[in-house]
């Protein structure tokens, strides 16, 4: 019976690369773009138990180590997407203006094929965000794309929790269809949006006070635990990162003002397509910005977006990341980073950082990932050519030393999957109804002690 279960498990992750390397792994003689310490030629990287343990020349690995020949190839840290909605069974909780109680964690789908396709584009980690339908949206999840693993393995345990905020057109819902009998949800203006957020933090402060009083035994009755306000208290306490969707520069400033008033920091402005207009103010606030490389013009508030956004922000000292917000675009963030060299002359390593180390910083996971450094997680991509070249593709994507995408194996697997399909299509339950029931024979119980006789 164990065999059956094992077989079934193998079957269930047929697309994935099931090699489980928790031992040693050695990448030899590659061009290593570290994203933190320059580009190193002809270098080896030794990985042990999921961590990078050595970077150098002529490194030795144990006999059973997995070896990757990196000759002529490029190695980068795994790409990190600071704005994704991959593997989510729900995106928006539309109902209220404040839905901080909603948690992406509750609706993760580890079987979403877009995970694998992102891996095939060199992405190893992502910030999975609630949608932007609410001034204060739901709680995010920061994950690594451990395709084929159980969902709990995806979550980066020590990533600080976060929450989605949003400003502008989506929040106002000014053009959404109102069903008969429904009233328009407040807020319908940018004025109202600001007040919703202020009101929520006023309530969160009072809520915290109520608990403090109770804990100090000033009150007798325990306050009601409020799942809406708890995450906002965490924001006030600096324990939860705010990722704030917005487009127009004025609304970014509005939020930064609120944050200042309530004493918290905004971790990232998401999209921030007009952030370049207020780069000095953003730099001063210490807030990061996570943007599209050059996607623009799809709505009014995206009309002033320019591809030089990243360059201006970078020159002002802002930590910038390039995100996808899309299951399609996430597959080619390396090209988006490359564009940043062209639009405004961002240096190569800085451009690489925008899809690796910078998003890691913004998500508070840069201690463990985002660059190729000894002691960090072995979240690594091996590219066929320079990752900024349009002619390059990822050959191997690994997370913590475990290979989750291997182009050669993917190609080799295609025939096998076709054969599996053919076999499955012949199974009784998969026959079209008109062909079913013709070959069915009562089969004797295979278990010797089964049956009632």
């Amino acid at each position: 019976m164990k065999k059956i279960i094992l077989l079934a498990i193998l079957l269930s992750c047929a697309i994935g690369v099931s090699a489980q390397q928790k031992g040693e792994l050695l990448i030899k003689n590659a061009t290593v773009m570290t994203a933190s310490g320059g580009t190193l030629q002809n270098r080896d990287i030794l990985v042990r138990n999921g961590k990078i343990v050595q970077i150098g020349r002529d490194l030795k690995a144990s006999a059973d180590a997995q070896i990757f020949d990196g000759t002529g190839k490029f190695v980068t840290p795994g790409i990190i997407d600071a704005h994704s909605h991959a593997m989510m069974d729900a995106v928006n909780e539309f109902s209220f203006a404040v839905t901080s109680m909603a948690r992406i964690r509750d609706v993760l789908d580890p079987t979403d094929i877009s995970i694998y396709r992102a891996l095939a584009g060199g992405v190893t980690a992502a910030n999975l965000l609630h949608g932007s339908a609410n001034p204060i949206g739901g709680q995010n999840s920061v994950v690594k794309f451990k395709w084929g693993h159980p969902i709990e393995d995806f979550l980066i345990a020590d990533a600080p929790p976060g929450i989605k905020f949003a400003m502008g057109e989506n929040v106002k819902r000014s053009n959404s269809q109102i069903q008969p009998g429904q009233t328009r949800r407040y807020p319908a203006t940018r004025m109202g949006t600001v007040e919703v957020i202020r009101d929520a933090f006023v309530r969160a402060r009072d809520y915290k006070q109520a608990w403090d009083d109770y804990r100090a035994k000033k009150t007798k009755v325990p306050p009601r635990r409020d799942l809406e306000l708890e995450p906002l208290v965490e924001v006030l306490e600096g324990k939860r990162l705010v990722h704030a969707h917005g487009y127009r520069s004025d609304e970014h400033l509005n939020l930064l003002l609120i944050a200042k008033d309530f004493g918290f920091k905004v971790a990232t402005l998401q999209h921030g397509l007009e952030a370049y207009k207020i780069a000095p103010e953003i730099a001063k606030s210490g807030t990061g910005v996570s943007i599209f490389a050059d996607y623009w013009g799809y709505k009014i508030e995206a009309y002033d977006a320019i591809p030089y956004n990243a360059a201006i922000l970078w020159k002002n000292g802002v930590v910038v990341s390039i995100n996808s917000d899309s299951a399609e675009r996430i597959r080619r963030l390396n090209i988006d980073a490359a564009k940043m060299m062209k639009y405004g002359g961002v240096p190569e390593e800085e451009a690489l950082k925008m899809i690796t180390l910078n998003p890691a910083k913004q998500l508070g996971i840069d201690k463990r990932t985002g660059s190729i450094e000894v002691g960090k997680d072995a979240d690594i991509v091996i590219w066929s050519a320079h990752p900024f070249s349009v002619y390059a593709h990822p050959e191997v994507t690994m997370i913590e030393g475990e290979v989750f995408f291997d182009r050669q194996k993917d190609v080799a697997m295609r025939d096998q999957l076709e054969k599996e399909r053919e076999a499955l299509e012949k199974a009784e339950a998969n026959l079209p109804p008109e062909k079913r029931g013709k070959s069915e024979k009562p089969k004797e119980n295979p278990s010797p002690n089964g049956g009632l006789q």
Partner: protein, 447 residues
């Protein structure tokens, strides 16, 4: 492209929340379309990628009166010619994007007043893109400064969407821009649609046999349009030959169909799935239409029919998601390589509404990371589309006598890191400015 528009809608509706309608803001007050200056130019000491012939490692190209006057390794620039030192630079023919909605849509979400891409109704053969194109759209400059000099701009919607236009990305008026003002008839070949969106239910499957029935009915409707047009053409001709016959009133929609019925101009069928491509090819063959397939996600699977009928494909799916969760992750990237291997004639196009059509070179380049040769990737956005659009005598390569649509770069044209240094359209040297560079200049030094 409808798909891109839908993607945008999806992005704003489902991911982000909602749309915002407003009729304001078209150009934001900046001058978008500086039409450059005419003159005689010589680019010397440059690497010249002619596309049609060998690459000249160190050569000269002379541009005069809008044309390429001379090109070669040993050309001497005569007097009265402005010389550009091309040392370290590479000269390419301008890229041709064979599928865009350039000029027909400024802002897809929340600004309906700027959207002229989708006429109402099923049958709009008389609608001409050239009449809806805004020569001052900000998209034109944004696109051309990345090296695309000519595009096909096309309407969407309905069964027969209208007629596309081939335009150069320069000119103060439609006629200044027009290369072929009325080029191909856009027909959205009826698809087998195996799902629908039902109110309160969401996406749900349609039984395949049912979907085929609906498709067949739609194809019948389309056939009827062509049959009626044929009859109309016949009666018009008869009347022209014999005025004693009763007068036949002119019908603009029917009138517009005539050159397509006669095979004088191409009918561009949008079709992505193999079954739909084969269906369109059969349809075109039966009616003796000159067909082009637009979309072509699974065109490589229908290679036999495409070759049999000698029909080319304008491939707009480089950056589309694979069809279905079991499709190979690289199936869309690999499409051009597979078409090439199968001997299908094709071009790579952005399929973009215009704002992001500037990504065309990178889309083409990626096809070379997944099976196509780099040379073919470049051809797929230069000479191949020129051939498919019937303008290869004028464009698509660097040859003496061709229109001087020229791009001078500091690197590989298809590489995302490459900068464009000089840009010529119709021999006019254009400033490398756009809405984006203007905003950049305005804000880059703000303290």
């Amino acid at each position: 492209m409808i798909k891109k528009i839908l993607n945008n809608l999806c992005l704003s509706l489902f991911i982000c929340g909602s749309l915002f309608i407003s009729a304001f803001a078209q150009n934001g007050g900046t001058q978008q379309n500086l039409t450059g200056r005419d003159g005689a130019f010589a680019i010397t000491n440059a690497r010249i990628v002619t596309v049609s012939g060998d690459t000249i490692e160190n050569g000269t190209i002379i541009i005069r009166n809008g044309k390429i006057e001379a090109v070669g390794a040993n050309i001497r620039a005569g007097g009265g010619v402005e010389t550009i030192d091309g040392k370290g630079l590479t000269v390419y023919p301008g890229m041709i994007d064979a599928a865009t909605n350039m000029g027909l849509i400024e802002i897809g979400g929340g600004a309906a007043g700027t959207v002229d891409v989708a006429e109402t109704g099923n049958m709009n053969s008389n609608a001409k893109a050239i009449t809806g194109i805004n020569p001052n759209t900000s998209h034109i400059n944004v696109t051309r400064v990345n090296g695309t000099t000519t595009v096909l701009s096309l309407p969407v919607s309905g069964l027969v969407s209208g007629q596309s236009a081939i335009i150069n990305l320069n000119g103060a008026t439609q006629s200044e821009m027009a290369v072929v003002p009325v080029f191909g008839l856009i027909v959205n070949f009826p698809r087998v649609t195996t799902f629908e969106f039902a109110p309160g239910v969401g996406r749900r499957a349609i039984e395949y046999s049912q979907a085929v029935k609906q498709r067949d009915k739609n194809v019948e409707d389309l056939k009827k349009i062509f049959d009626e047009a044929a009859l109309y053409a016949k009666t018009r001709e008869a009347y022209a030959a014999d005025k004693s016959l009763p007068h036949k009133d002119i019908d603009l929609k029917m009138e517009a169909m005539i050159p397509y019925l006669k095979g004088e101009k191409p009918v561009i069928f949008t079709a992505d799935r193999e079954r739909d491509i084969r269906g369109a090819l059969k349809f075109a063959d039966e009616l003796k239409l000159k067909a082009i397939i637009l979309g072509g996600a699974e065109a490589w699977k229908a290679a036999d029919d495409l070759k049999k009928y000698n029909v080319p494909v304008i491939y707009t799916n480089m950056w589309s998601m694979p069809l279905g969760q079991d499709a190979d992750y690289d199936s869309m990237y690999a499409g051009p390589g597979k078409m090439k291997a199968a001997g299908v004639k094709f071009a790579i196009a952005s399929g973009d509404d215009g704002a992001n059509a500037r990504d065309l070179p990178y889309q083409a380049g990626m096809s070379a990371a997944y099976g196509l040769s780099k040379e073919d990737a470049l051809k797929a956005v230069t000479i191949y589309p020129a051939e498919i659009l019937g303008i290869s005598d004028k464009m698509g390569s660097i040859e003496t006598g061709k229109v001087a649509n020229i791009v001078v770069t500091d690197g590989d044209l298809l590489d995302a890191r490459t900068n464009i240094k000089y840009l010529f359209i119709n021999g006019r040297l254009l400033p490398l400015t756009s809405r984006h560079t203007e905003l950049y200049e305005a804000f880059k030094n703000r303290k």
